[in-house]
Symmetry: C2
Subunit: 448 residues, 2 copies
């Protein structure tokens, strides 16, 4: 990438131009008697501070430095200058595995929008690859942009689209698939792909970042490198989510696609396995299995694509004073399924029972999960649970509410009738329900 597109201006641009340094070069900066060595990164014109330079350290971590007139920049090693050629055109290295990176948007592929001051998805897969040049040491990367949206806008119809693109890559013989995705609904999409992509031969790894790549504290590069490592090295044909394993930059955790949830708005380790331990720990140069058994990598296995989802399914969280009209509105607007996020072991206020019964009588599948998030529904313990079971509510055990929503959408689209859909909902297909799990399996946030 030439300096013109690098996003630098003023003092930094001047110093870089003088030394004929380009993005991707390894440089050494001296500032106030200290030395910093790393690869020069582009920045997305954060504008306000032209003295700021971003380099990526050997650790894969980006730092931002504020230069002054006395600071010097020296080139240590040239970067790969061919980055502006198409990734697809580059020669394949025979000894490296092949990985497909599909970009859907989100922070991991974002830059700042100057109209609103906010961050927008914009970087292409090519840009991604340009900003993380070490990827070429790990794999032959085939990168494609399949969507470009912030993940709060990803809808069930998009899941089918993503699943079909993943299936194409797998059928073309990739050794692993990485999907760059916004973090807001990453857990919903990972659950959807877990059901849509059956019998996969290689890993499918969803990855996001909590800080955009133009911020010094970005987790984008480390997460993306880790995802490529996991997708090419892990002996697991599972749909997984890979994100930071703790709030620093020491390691990553891979979570089962159906058992993971964003549990913090901003921390880099926001994603946590719920009612289960993470599947893999990914360090800089190792991928360690934590939670077998797993479906193993097997290139002979033929993928089965089941990419349809019924969109008329709602998630309904109960609260004190909730009125039956909220359920009845769903019946009237032709919803086929309702996943209730009830309280405790799977309860709803008694006042909601007549509307729930009306929904079930009208042919709507009503399933119960818990807003406690951790643990499992057990509707046999208290009267209100027993009464809901009696009118036909399905108890979703230790399934996350979000996973239950996605699975009910999928079950309804892949069943011949309601009874079939209810059975499918409770049949373990991708580790989403564990009938045996105990309280002691309760994943403690932050525990490793």
């Amino acid at each position: 990438m030439s300096l013109d597109d690098s996003g630098y201006s003023g003092l930094v641009l001047e110093k870089l131009s003088r030394s004929k340094i380009q993005v991707g070069d390894t440089i050494r900066i001296t500032k106030d008697g200290e030395e910093f060595t790393g690869v020069l990164m582009p920045r997305s014109q954060v504008g306000s501070d032209a003295a700021h330079i971003i380099i990526k350290l050997d650790s894969g971590y980006n730092i931002g430095l504020r230069l002054n007139q006395e600071s010097t920049i020296r080139r240590i090693k040239g970067g790969t200058r061919k980055r502006t050629t198409k990734v697809e055109d580059s020669m394949e290295k025979k000894n490296l595995p092949r990985v497909s990176i599909l970009s859907t948007g989100g922070t991991i592929a974002s830059k700042v929008d100057y109209r609103t001051g906010a961050v927008n998805p914009a970087l292409s897969a090519q840009d991604l690859y340009d900003t993380v040049p070490e990827l070429e040491n790990y794999a032959n990367v085939h990168a494609k942009v399949i969507m470009s949206v912030l993940s709060e806008n990803i809808a069930p119809s998009d899941w089918g689209n993503i699943a079909r693109k993943v299936a194409s890559e797998i059928q073309a013989g990739t050794d692993g698939v990485v999907i760059a995705h916004g973090t807001d609904t990453l857990g919903f999409t990972s659950a959807a792909l877990s059901f849509a992509l059956q019998n996969i031969p290689v890993p499918v790894v969803l990855v996001g970042s909590q800080r955009s790549s133009d911020r010094p504290s970005s987790d984008a590069a480390m997460n993306l490198i880790g995802a490529v490592n996991l997708a090419t090295k892990a002996d697991a044909a599972e749909v997984m989510v890979l994100m930071h394993g703790e709030s620093g930059d020491s390691f990553l955790h891979a979570h089962r696609g159906t058992k993971v949830r964003k549990l913090h708005t901003s921390r880099r380790d926001a994603f946590q396995s719920v009612n289960e331990y993470p599947l893999f720990r990914v360090d800089e140069d190792s991928v360690t299995e934590l939670h077998p058994p797993l479906l193993r990598r097997n290139l002979e296995r033929k993928i089965k694509l089941k990419a349809k989802f019924e969109e008329k399914v709602a998630l309904l969280k109960t609260f004190p004073g909730i009125e039956g009209t909220l359920v009845e509105n769903l019946i009237q607007t032709d919803y086929k399924g309702i996943v209730i996020e009830g309280t405790g072991l799977g309860h709803a206020p008694d006042s909601l029972q007549p509307s729930i019964k009306k929904a079930i009588d009208a042919g709507v599948v009503v399933a119960m999960t818990s807003q406690c998030i951790f643990g499992r529904t057990d509707m046999d313990v208290y009267r209100s649970g027993v009464e809901l079971l009696d009118i036909g509510v399905v108890s979703c055990e230790d399934m996350l509410p979000e996973t239950a929503l996605v699975k009910l959408m999928w079950s309804l689209a892949n069943s011949k009738d309601i009874e079939n859909a209810k059975n499918l909902l409770l049949t373990p297909l991708a580790g989403e329900i564990d009938m045996r799990s105990e309280e002691s399996d309760y994943k403690i946030l932050g525990e490793t």
Copy 2:
């Protein structure tokens, strides 16, 4: 309590009758060469196993033993036989503080329902006191049943009722109030009382249990004793929730009423402080302050009761594919407020924006929280957040979605107009919003 009401039958009843033992007596059981000493507890006729006896150990923990013909039971010390007299009639001990226990129902006051096999609220405050005889060592207890419901059925109108009863006890000069409450919606009620009871002179402690008192693993007695200790000893005039601090029986944690959430369906340490550390640790004989500053106990302070709540406020959790009709139905059914539980930093799908704007134009207050639960909303970072702020959505910072719902209900009922209600919603009143909190304040589940 006589043996007739004790719930025992068959082998156990026979052995107890032979030794003229009554509930409340300290007994020693020998079984298979082992000895167990504790206070005989009543049981709620779990029926199927007549050989099972329950005693409370010195630790306050109940254990269940299955007796055989060879087992012996011996009385070590008589219990207080006057338990069948009214609590209110007993003599006050001059050197002990006075505590009011108000029972609303829930597992802490439940027994098994033989019609459905499920657990129902049924024990009176008197029964509570009978089953935890050590309470008389800690305080002069004034116990009242004010409701008898499982907490999933507690509605906003009940919060006002509970608040008024608490205010009466405080005005009558109690040294602390304990409220026995089901755990399902304990966090909603604790938030409601935090806003309804202003300027309180003494602690108000909500307490529940995750296992009913007729189960050997019940946490009811330990939690209730701890609540009486906290209410009488803590130098804090705060509304708090007291429950187990870890899954064993070693200590309890007191959480701020506005910052606590049930985060597991069944674990005894299901309640966790969110975005804040617990306020107190309660051990068998000590109450330790963990998280100052607190409003201090001050008997001169005059309580202000603000017990009205607007019931037409809904909590709406977003999900992929959510349709605008869900918001529009709330406008049509005359809702005054909507708390959105959005994704990430406070986002909703773009497709929902027109309906949200319609709601705001119709005079509905729309507030944003995050389904991540931990962390805070920050709607300035991404375009979709910025656009929601522009149309008038209120960002609830680090308020829990449940607390934001309760506070919006309270703000609308205690404001002269919508602008006033929006301002009140974002004004810190009971520790519910902390504008300064950092990521590092992220409470790790299970961390002490």
